[in-house]
């Protein structure tokens, strides 16, 4: 009889303790409402079996961390895609700005000014001021081409420097994940709550997915990070990534491999894949600019230089000089001899000073369809519009991938996120239960006291 009354007090006590713990879990959820890396916890409550399998009250059996692994994988894939397109869009926009096709002072503008100066000198080839203008406009044009190329090279070098820094960051993160795996394993073995450690690990994995496309596998309780079949983290072991930039067929590529084993790693998304793609894209643009340079500096038959070489300078001498030459840095420049003495510009077709027909033909040459079935003007404007198409494409993909990422993050939030309203309602519910149980304990206590008084 007495035993029964003590049991009822004990039942009340377990309930009060359980609801207190439940309240703490709700409090923890509410305080982490703005923490993006926090996964909502749910209290799993189960009845306690009392003596003789009778009533024993209630207890908190576990704290469940609410995660949907499929959604987690989708989120990471979309983060990788978003970061890839964000980088590509920003780099190609920079290249696009560098080409400044629509602004004043574009390559096309400079080429047009050069063409105009040739037209002017064709009328007064004996005028040394006009010849100086030809040289000056040609220099402006070549400097713009060279600076565009150099800016693109600078963007490439920035990419490579950034990659070198970021690959170290990723390796540090892989190391942190491996260490966390060990801590989580130990905590679980000791029967402790490893949920906070798992939150930290998930946030680091999200960070890593910004750089590379990774998959998480938790088979046989062993946590693995895998990229296209290559394991980067296996339990408490991790493998560092290494990169190497190489040139093939005139394009730059980045090879990724495991530092320890030299195994190639195929990275198809994330920032690192964007760097590889951006280098390719910039090299393609550079290649086109170099084709234009080659076209102007070549001295084969029917080229600008060929026409110039066969013209006559202001002194009536056959020029036999290239007008455009390659400088020591690989850029295009005006022949230094002509730059120093504009009289050497071969404006004439005959050894007579007022003959500007060669200048006229040189001007005409720039506009005629003798370069890849188009004029050099069209070719350069095509470079700008092709870069525009590329940039437009990446901007569109960025918008799409941003929407997908946000939608996936929302899906993740629907499952793992904290809703204050929901938690507050649960808190009210728990508060109610707590008061009821407290009343129950009071009544049980009063009954017990009454019984003791009777027995006295």
């Amino acid at each position: 009889m007495f035993m029964g009354n003590f049991t009822s007090l004990n039942i009340g006590l377990t309930a009060l303790r359980t609801f207190k713990q439940y309240q703490e879990i709700l409090g923890n959820n509410i305080t982490n409402v703005s923490n993006e890396n926090y996964k909502r916890r749910e209290a799993i409550i189960e009845p306690i079996r009392g003596p003789d399998n009778l009533y024993g009250g209630v207890k908190l059996s576990s704290i469940k961390r609410i995660v949907d692994y499929f959604i987690e994988s989708e989120v990471r894939t979309s983060i990788s895609d978003y970061e890839k397109h964000k980088i590509l869009s920003s780099i190609i926009s920079e290249v696009e700005e560098n080409l400044s096709a629509l602004g004043e002072g574009s390559i096309l503008d400079k080429l047009t000014d050069f063409w105009k100066s040739l037209e002017e000198v064709s009328k007064n080839s004996q005028d040394i001021t006009l010849r100086r203008e030809v040289v000056s406009k040609a220099k402006d044009f070549t400097q713009k081409i060279n600076s565009t190329l150099n800016k693109n090279y600078f963007i490439e070098s920035k990419i490579i420097k950034k990659l070198n820094v970021e690959i170290k960051e990723v390796n540090n993160k892989l190391k942190e994940i491996a260490e966390l795996n060990q801590e989580i394993k130990s905590a679980i073995l000791l029967g402790n709550d490893a949920n906070s450690l798992k939150d930290i690990r998930d946030s680091i994995v999200d960070e890593v997915s910004k750089y590379i496309n990774i998959e998480v596998s938790e088979k046989d309780e062993e946590y693995k990070l895998v990229i296209n079949g290559i394991v980067l983290v296996n339990g408490n072991n991790y493998f560092s990534l290494e990169s190497k930039v190489y040139e093939e067929n005139g394009t730059k590529n980045i090879d990724f491999f495991l530092k320890e084993y030299g195994v190639n790693v195929d990275i198809s998304s994330g920032k690192f894949s964007a760097y590889n793609r951006a280098l390719n894209d910039i090299e393609n643009i550079n290649l086109k600019i170099k084709q234009a340079i080659y076209f102007l500096t070549s001295n084969n038959v029917n080229t600008f230089n060929y026409l110039h070489k066969n013209g006559y300078d202001i002194y009536g001498n056959l020029s036999n000089k290239d007008f455009f030459v390659i400088d020591e840095t690989g850029g295009i420049t005006v022949n230094p001899l002509i730059e120093a003495e504009p009289g050497l510009f071969a404006a004439s077709k005959t050894p007579y000073i007022s003959d500007g027909t060669n200048a006229s033909e040189l001007a005409s040459f720039l506009k005629s369809s003798n370069f890849n079935n188009s004029s050099i003007f069209n070719f350069i404007s095509e470079i700008s519009s092709a870069t525009g198409y590329l940039s437009q494409n990446y901007n569109n993909l960025l918008e799409i991938s941003n929407n997908i990422k946000n939608s996936n993050l929302s899906k993740r939030d629907m499952i793992s996120g904290v809703s204050i309203d929901e938690e507050m309602l649960k808190l009210l519910e728990i508060q109610k239960y707590y008061s009821v149980v407290a009343k129950y304990v009071t009544i049980s206590n009063e009954i017990l006291e009454e019984m003791i008084r009777i027995l006295k």
Binding site: S122, S360, G388, S419
Partner: protein, 301 residues
């Protein structure tokens, strides 16, 4: 479906970002007046604009070229006009002196002919700012040189006038695929179907000095007038054609500019309406955020 605070925040943030971006784009368009800020706004239209702008600049250059050609034709005209007047003057004097046997009149006429030759040579040796205009493409060379012989009395007698220039002409673009081969060489001006005008004037002078009949020179000089007239008429018609060409090019420039404007320029009223609607959208989102802040269960408790 569970809607958490993060979902709402992300959704509002996203809408705010998009609205801010649209506001930025719209205000850029309004301040610059241009639809296209970068090639990626419309790559195909960028290429069209580049082509149009190149075309516009080329056409302006062709107008400059044509104006230069016209100014040179006008310069030639004024020179030819002056030669015409010189010949007309001598022709009139010949006709007036034809009836006279006075040696003084003849001597004066001889002097007049010598002076006329010198004046014509002076006119044909005209320079523009940098070169002689009648020397073909050999612009540094004075085109005509008077050859004289020293006489027994020590005086200098004009025996011939030599052309030192060449017979080549310059060519200048008047459109992408069209050249104007223009100008006059000295030979073109002085040579006609009776020979060289200087030789004719020298022969006239000689015949006059010998007392020969000089009436035959009337026809020769008349024919030279015809020759000069032809050049002046051709020049005039060429100048007219070139002026016409300028008008056509100007029309083409206007069309090109209007095509550029169609693609490039914004419709201000349309853009202002758009800007205002984006601004309204922004304000609505801000209100919604404010409401969201107030509408939650903890505020009711």
């Amino acid at each position: 479906m569970r809607i958490t605070e993060s979902i709402l925040t992300r959704s509002f943030l996203n809408s705010l970002n998009n609205t801010m971006r649209d506001l930025y784009i719209s205000s850029n368009k309004l301040s610059s007046g241009k639809k296209l800020q970068t090639p990626s706004d419309s790559p195909s239209e960028t290429q069209i604009i580049c082509d149009y702008k190149l075309n516009e600049k080329s056409l302006n250059q062709f107008i400059k070229n044509i104006e230069y050609i016209i100014s040179r034709y006008e310069l030639y005209d004024s020179c030819i006009d002056s030669i015409y007047n010189e010949i007309a003057n001598i022709k009139e004097k010949i006709s007036r002196s034809g009836a006279s046997n006075s040696s003084e009149i003849k001597n004066n006429l001889v002097e007049e002919i010598n002076l006329t030759i010198k004046n014509i040579v002076f006119t044909l040796n005209r320079r523009d700012s940098t070169s002689y205009i009648f020397s073909g493409t050999d612009g540094l060379k004075k085109p005509f040189e008077i050859v004289t012989e020293t006489q027994s009395d020590g005086s200098q007698k004009i025996v011939s006038v030599e052309y030192k220039g060449n017979n080549l002409k310059n060519k200048i673009h008047i459109s992408d695929n069209e050249y104007e081969i223009f100008g006059f060489t000295g030979n073109e001006i002085v040579n006609y179907n009776y020979g060289n005008i200087f030789d004719i004037l020298i022969n006239l002078r000689e015949d006059l000095m010998r007392g020969y009949d000089i009436s035959v020179y009337q026809d020769k000089l008349n024919e030279y007038f015809n020759h000069l007239n032809k050049i002046i008429v051709n020049n005039g018609s060429r100048i007219n054609n070139l002026n016409l060409k300028i008008e056509l090019i100007k029309k083409e420039i206007l069309n090109t500019q209007s095509s550029i404007s169609d693609i490039e320029d914004i419709d201000y009223s349309q853009e202002i309406v758009k800007y205002t609607s984006i601004k309204n959208r922004y304000e609505i989102i801000m209100r919604l955020i404010e409401n969201m802040q107030n509408n939650n269960i903890s505020n009711y408790l």
